[in-house]
Each structure stands twice: as C-alpha cells, then as structure tokens.
Amino acid sequence: MYKIISLSILLLFTSKSFSQLVLRQNDWSLEFKGYSNFYYNYRFVEKGQEKHKNRFRTSDARLTFEFDHNRKVNAQIQLDFANVPTSEESNLLVDSWIQLRGDWFKLRFGQQKVPYSLISIFNKPSLAISERPFLIDIMTPRRDVGITFHQFFWGEKLLLWQGIFTGNGKNQKDDDAKGKPLFAARVQYSFPHKSSEATFNSIPSIKPVFSFGANATFSDDQRVIEDENLFRNLEGKKLLYGVDFSVAYRQFKFIWEFHRADFKPDATKEFSAGGSFYELSANFKKINSLFAVRYEDVNPNSLLKNNNQKALDFATTHFLEGLPTQVRVTYSHRFEVERTKNKWKDNELRAEIIFNF
C-alpha cells in the first residue's frame, strides 16, 4: 500500500505541467526532479528452476529535491520509492548532502557517491545499459556517509576528489566496532577539453575527447551487513584501486575500466579480486536510438583458479519523440565458468521504460 501511494505521488509529478518544477525566491531555488523505471525481466533458466523466470518490477521511483542558494550552497535529498522499507534495512534514502561551492572546489557533506570509478559516478538515467557492470556492483563502495573535497583546474580538464567516509555503505547510522573510516581519492584528466557526464553521455562531441582516471580506496573494518558487495561483506583490510579510460567522438562513446581489490581478511587467507569491462555505445539522434554493447570479465576470488565470470550485454534504447521517456531492451549473456562448467548467472532479457521528469 505504501508503495502504491508513493508511486501515485510520483505520477503527479510526471505530467508535463509538473515536470521539473522549480520554486524560486530571490537567490534561493528548490527544484523537484526524478525518474521512474518499470521493467519486464525474462530469465533463461534451466527446467525446474522457474522461480523469478518472468517478472515485472519497478526498479526505481526516484524523487530528488535540490536546494540552491546563489550557486554557493546547495543541498540534495534523493528518495527512491521503489525501495520503501520492507524490512529492517531501508534503502529509501539514496542521497542526502549539503555542498559548499567555490570557484575551484566543492565541499560536500552527507550521504553521497564515493568518488570511485567513472561509470559509478554517472547517474543511472544516463547509462547506456540497464545496470552498471557486475564488477562495479560487487567491488566498489558506491554510496556512503562522509565528506568529499572536489577540486577542478585548467577549465575543469583536471579533476581531483578526496573523501573520508564511515565505510559501512549508505543508510548505516553507526560505524563498526573497529571505528576506522574509509578513505577514497580519484584523479581525472580530460583532453583536449573538459568531459562532463552530459558531454560523455548525451551531447555529441565533434572532436574526440579523451579522459583518463585513476582511483583508490582503503578501509579496515568489520562486516556490518550481509551483502553481495565484497567491500561490505568482509572483515579486514581492503585496498581497492583502478584506472579508467574513455573517449567520446560524435555519436560514439567508449569506456574501459580496470579494478583490483586486495583483501586481508582478519579470519582467512589474503586474496584479491578484480577485472575489467569494455563498453561501446552509439547514439543516433536521427532515429532517436542508442545502441550499446559491453563485455566484462571478473574474478571475484583469486584463490580459485579458472573462476572468471564473463558477460556480454547488448542494449538498444529508443527515445520517444517529444517525451522525456526512453524504452530500452537489454540482453545479458553470461558465459560458463571454466572451473564449474556452469553459468555464473542465468542469461536475461530485460525490457524497460524509463520516465525522466
């Protein structure tokens, strides 16, 4: 019932007249925006494993409130009504931060994205494929509560981030028994001019724009919650480091990321995890369509040989003329793991509709 009420509130905002509503008074503004994502998912399961084979789901129903004062102070609260509290763990609150801006820096306090990985920093509506790579899902910290200092130089060609976080992921009110923080840093250089999320994902660049990034995080903590994310699910020291490269030229975009994590668990042997992905997309405005293909290869545990999990994703997105709406079909093909001779996950087909407002 709570979910239905929440979605109804969101639908109110999706009518044309309510879209991107901004209230302004003197130097203050309050902006409402968001997106919703509804999908059908078909999994190519083995006979006898029919559970979750056919399903309809709402993956996102996000509403963002953004406050701004003269571009000097701004704050954001983002809620996801598709993740209303159904258990002790609530994911309703996505972002909640306050930011101070200067000519060459931003200082952000609160629950926010950890500055690690280019594709992790991008907002979900601008992704070319339904989900971020598996590599990012299992290995990167994603969101946490903390402080980020973001600097930009040379016309925003050089970007630096440094952050310190609680280390337990989003919506965790306390630190763990060890009480040690997570440190994160990222550097990004773009050439011949700056590369923003918009220029990378939606605006065709008539000249090739190259971007190089390097990032790392370190933490030493106890497990707080059961989670498929290796960072949150292991006790001990964790060093994550990675590099990324991207190029955007006309309607074509390419992105490559490599990440590796060295784990020193308190109870078991040291091991590492890592992998890379390659993603190529092409956005053809004349036919309002975007096509993308991605290959990834991840080894989540170096103690197991021939344990690589590989996947190939294809996605086609069609932008509906005159509407802030896109329809996307993604097919995810997972390869057999050499060690087990089984697929690490079923192949899937996902058809979704995304409404931005």
Binding site: P192, I206, A282, F291, T316, Y331, H333, N347
Partner: protein, 250 residues
C-alpha cells in the same frame, strides 16, 4: 541455443545501425574556417561584437567582460550573477542586456560605465539549468530570449520585462544563443553543433553545421563572417558562410 540466436541478432542490429547512420551523417560544406583565437575568459558562454570592434562576453561564472578587438580584457564589470549565458548590446541606447540562466533574470547595464541600470525576472518553472541561453534585440526594440530546452523556445519580451509572446521551436534538441544581424535572426544549437537562420515566424530558413565543440555564442562580423564561441575550449572561431540557395530549407 535460443540465447545464442538473440546474441547474434543483437550484434547484427548494432552493426546495421552503425553502418546505416554512417551513410546518413553528412556535414554540409557551406562553411569555411578562417581563424581560431583563444579567449582568456573562464567558461565563456556568449559574445557580442560591437561596431567599434570591442567584444562583450559573459561567463558561466556570472561575470561580464569587455574585450578589445585583439581579445584582450579591458574591463570586468562588478556585477556578479549566478550563471550568465546570454548577452546583447543595444548600441543605439548604450545598454548591455545579460541573461542569468538559473534565476531567469535579465540585467540591463550601461555599455560605457560599470553600472547596473535595472533588472527583471521572468517567472518560469523549468529546470534551473535549462533556462535563458541567449538574448537579442529586434528592430522594434523588443528582446528575443531563447530558452535552452524543455521546451526550446523564443520568448519576445519588452525592454521593461513584459512577456509578449512565446514560440516553441522543435528543430533542435537545444538552443544556446541568438543574434540578429542586418535584420536576420540566427540561433545556435550546442548539441546539434548547428547555426540556423530563421524566418520572421521563427521557422528555419537555412542552416550550417559547425565543426565546433560546445558552441555557446554567436555574433557577426559582416554579412558572411560569423564568430562562434566555444565554451568548453574557450576559443573563438571565425567562419565564412557560403550562402547558397541549395542549402535553403523549403
């Protein structure tokens, strides 16, 4: 087996789309690059060339600059806004008009003194960063203001701030600047990297594809020489326009 077929079809679809569109994409050849100059203004977002050879440039940082004919900054106005995106000069009356995108505010400054004369706000509910990207003055003295997107439009506003009309445009995904030269209206699209010449009813008369990254400002030197400002590169491109009827959109 079924999944392999899907895999194959996806791959073929991707390849077909790439090749099909590669054939469709062809840039018009009626524009010639003459000169490129660097501009020492951070994040320049619009430009106006005065008859005395001086330039007025606004910056995303919320500042107005006056530059000499050699593009050297000779004055930085004390007015500080949030996100200046459009500028035009009323040379007859000695005014400079500037648009501040986020608060939807228009400032009127003195052209020759560092003085704010007046300002007004146009009430709008759209997204903060999809506001007023350009401004020009028509022959009647009214202001033509372009809205970037959702929906792209030209607003006709009196010089005192009264909104007279709004025309929604649908030929470009965004608009980044507007200028009027010799009675002809030109608008620029950043995402399409295209310059459009419009009829009086704001329909497209001609268009030119631009080899410029992030074009945010347009002004004319003479009938056939256009200056295009690149925000991302902080460069001023000078082009000669070939004005052939073959490129007229009917």
């Amino acid at each position: 087996m079924f999944s392999r077929k899907i895999l194959f079809l996806c791959f073929c679809s991707f390849l077909f789309s790439c090749s099909n569109n590669a054939l469709q994409e062809s840039n018009s050849q009626n524009i010639f690059l003459e000169n490129v100059k660097r501009i020492n203004v951070p994040e320049p977002s619009d430009i106006f060339l005065c008859s005395d050879g001086n330039y007025f440039i606004v910056s995303d940082k919320g500042f107005v600059y006056k530059l000499d004919s050699g593009l050297k900054i000779i004055q930085k106005f004390s007015l500080k806004g949030q996100d200046f995106e459009g500028i035009t000069v009323d040379e007859k009356n000695g005014f400079v008009y500037v648009t501040d995108e986020r608060p939807r505010k228009i400032y009127r400054l003195s052209k020759d003194k560092d003085e704010l004369i007046s300002s007004f706000t146009i009430s709008e509910n759209g997204a903060a960063n999809k506001g007023f990207e350009g401004i020009a003055i028509d022959e009647t003295g009214n202001l033509l203001i372009v809205r970037e997107k959702d929906a792209t439009a030209i607003l006709t506003v009196s010089s005192e701030g009264q909104k007279l009309s709004e025309t929604t445009l649908n030929f470009a995904s965004d608009l980044s600047s507007i200028t009027i030269f010799n009675g002809k209206i030109y608008v620029l699209s950043d995402e399409e990297a295209t310059l459009y010449q419009l009829n009086k009813d704001f329909t497209v008369r001609k268009k030119w594809s631009l080899p410029v990254v992030n074009p945010e400002g347009v002004t004319f030197k003479d009938e056939n020489t256009v200056l295009i400002l690149s925000d991302a590169e902080a460069k001023l491109y000078e082009f000669t326009l070939e004005d052939r009827d073959a490129f007229t959109i009917r």
